[in-house]
C-alpha cells in the first residue's frame, strides 16, 4: 500500500499531464482558428506543483522565439486563449448537452466568437450571453440556426424575454426579400420560394416540437431520432402540433391558410410555385404563427 502511494506521488504529475495532453491538442486547434493575425504560437500545457500549490504552465512562442505566454499577449489574445482552454475542458466529461459561455469580449471580433463555437455546435447547444450586438448581428445576417433572444431587465429586476430572430423568421424574411425584388425573373422566384417557405415551416415546427418534448423530460437523443424519422413536412408539422405523426386533415381544415400554406411547402417544393407569391408567403407566415402558438389548437 505504502509502495503504491509513493509510486503514485512520484508519477502523479506524469499521469495528470498525459490526461491534459488531449486538452492541449484540442486547445491548440481552437487557438489556430482564433488567433487571426497573432504571432503567438501555443505550445504545451503542463500541470505543476503538489498539494495546495498547483499551477498550469502554458508555453508559447512568438515568431518562433520562446516566450512566457501570458506576459506577451494582448487582451484579445488572452480572451481567445481562455476560450481555447475552456472549450476542450468543458466538453471532455460534461454530462450536459448544452454549454453556457459568457459574451465574447470586446477585444475579440464577433465572427471569431461565432466561429469558435461552431465546432462545438455540432453536438452541443451553445448559449452565448452578450451585451455586444455584433455577434447577434453576425448571426442575424449570416446563415445558420441561431436563435436570438433579448433579455430586458426592468425595475425590481423583472425580466422580459423577447424573441428577436429565429430561423423561421429569417427564412420568411428571405422569402419576402426575393418577392419584393422586382428585377428577379419570376421563373427564378417561383423556383426558390417554395424551398424557403418549406424551411420556414419546418424550423418553426422543429422549435415547437423540441421545446415541448424537452419540457416533458424527453431525452435529446430520442427527440432528435423522432424528428429525423419524420421526413415529410406534413409529418413534422404534425409532430409540432400533436407530438406524434397523425393525419392533419381536421387541423388543416380549421383555417384555409393552413392547407394552402402546407400545400406550398410540400407539393410546391418539387415543382414551381403556381399561385401568387405574396399570398404564398402570407399563408406560410400564418401557418408558422399557428405552429408556434398552438398545441392541439
Amino acid at each position: 500500500m505504502k509502495f503504491a502511494l509513493n509510486w503514485l506521488k512520484a508519477n502523479d504529475t506524469i499521469i495528470k499531464n498525459e490526461r491534459i495532453r488531449v486538452v492541449a491538442d484540442h486547445a491548440r486547434r481552437i487557438w489556430s482558428d482564433l488567433r487571426q493575425e497573432s504571432n503567438v504560437d501555443l505550445g504545451d500545457l503542463k500541470l505543476q506543483g503538489t498539494n495546495t500549490r498547483r499551477t498550469v504552465e502554458i508555453t508559447a512562442t512568438v515568431d518562433g522565439e520562446d516566450a512566457g505566454a501570458l506576459s506577451v499577449m494582448s487582451q484579445g489574445e488572452l480572451h481567445a486563449l481562455a476560450l481555447a482552454l475552456f472549450l476542450p475542458r468543458a466538453t471532455m466529461v460534461e454530462p450536459l448537452p448544452f454549454r453556457r459561455a459568457r459574451r465574447p469580449s470586446s477585444g475579440h471580433g464577433p465572427l471569431e466568437g461565432g466561429r469558435s463555437h461552431q465546432g462545438a455546435r455540432r453536438d452541443r447547444q451553445v448559449i452565448v450571453f452578450s451585451h455586444d450586438d455584433r455577434l447577434a448581428d453576425a448571426a442575424r445576417r449570416g446563415p445558420g440556426d441561431a436563435r436570438i433572444l433579448e433579455v430586458t431587465r426592468g425595475s425590481g429586476s423583472s425580466i422580459k424575454i423577447d424573441n428577436l430572430s429565429d430561423p423561421a423568421s429569417r427564412y420568411l424574411a428571405d422569402a419576402r426579400a426575393i418577392c419584393s425584388d422586382d428585377k428577379l425573373p419570376e421563373d427564378t422566384l417561383r423556383r426558390a420560394l417554395p424551398n424557403l417557405l418549406r424551411l420556414a415551416a419546418e424550423s418553426a415546427a422543429r422549435e415547437a416540437f423540441f421545446s415541448a418534448q424537452y419540457a416533458s423530460g424527453q431525452s435529446p437523443a430520442d427527440v432528435g431520432d423522432t424528428w429525423n424519422s419524420a421526413a415529410k413536412t406534413g409529418h413534422r408539422v404534425s409532430l409540432s402540433i400533436f407530438g406524434d405523426v397523425r393525419p392533419l386533415d381536421v387541423w388543416l381544415d380549421k383555417r384555409p391558410h393552413r392547407k394552402r400554406g402546407l400545400g406550398v411547402c410540400t407539393s410546391a417544393a418539387h415543382v414551381k410555385l403556381n399561385g401568387d407569391p405574396q399570398e404564398a408567403v402570407e399563408d406560410v407566415r400564418r401557418l408558422v404563427d399557428d405552429i408556434r402558438v398552438s398545441r392541439k389548437g
Partner: protein, 142 residues
C-alpha cells in the same frame, strides 16, 4: 479561357499584395471592391449553370436563391453569404473601426475563391451581366 471571376480575383490579389500602382494604404479596401465584383460574378455564374436566371436582381436575392438551390446546409452558399457580408462591411467607412487588415481581406478573398472554385463550371461563363466594377460608395474611392 479565363473567366471574369478569375480575372477579378487575380486583380484583387495583386492589389492586396501591393504589386500594382494602388497606394498601399488603400490596397485592402480596393481589393474588397474587386472581390465583391468577383463574388457577384461567381454567384451569378453558378445560378445560371443551374438554370436559374437572376436577371438584374440584387445580390441579396441572388444569395437567397443560391441557398435555396443548393440546400440549407450548403457550405458554398453559407460561405458566399458570409463573404458578401464581410466584403460589404469592409467596403465602407465605419465610425469606430479601422480599415480591414491585409490578413482579414486575405481570408475574405479565400472565401470568394472557395465559392468560385466549387461552383466553377467551364461551360457556364455567362456572367457578363453581373459584373460591374463599381465601388460601393462612389466618391469614397482613393
Amino acid at each position: 479561357m479565363t473567366s471574369k471571376t478569375d480575372l477579378l480575383l487575380g486583380q484583387a490579389r495583386d492589389v492586396l499584395a501591393g504589386s500594382t500602382a494602388m497606394p498601399a494604404a488603400h490596397g485592402p479596401r480596393a481589393a474588397c471592391w474587386l472581390a465583391r465584383a468577383a463574388l457577384e460574378a461567381a454567384v451569378s455564374q453558378q445560378l445560371a449553370a443551374m438554370g436559374h436566371d437572376c436577371g438584374e436582381s440584387n445580390m441579396r436575392s441572388r444569395l437567397i436563391c443560391l441557398s435555396s438551390a443548393l440546400g440549407q446546409d450548403s457550405d458554398v452558399a453559407q460561405r458566399a453569404r458570409s463573404a458578401w457580408d464581410g466584403l460589404s462591411n469592409a467596403s465602407h467607412q465605419h465610425a469606430y473601426e479601422l480599415s480591414p487588415t491585409v490578413a482579414e481581406v486575405g481570408d475574405l478573398l479565400a472565401d470568394v475563391r472557395h465559392v468560385y472554385q466549387s461552383t466553377a463550371s467551364p461551360s457556364a461563363s455567362n456572367d457578363d451581366h453581373a459584373t460591374s466594377l463599381r465601388p460601393t460608395r462612389p466618391g469614397a474611392a482613393p
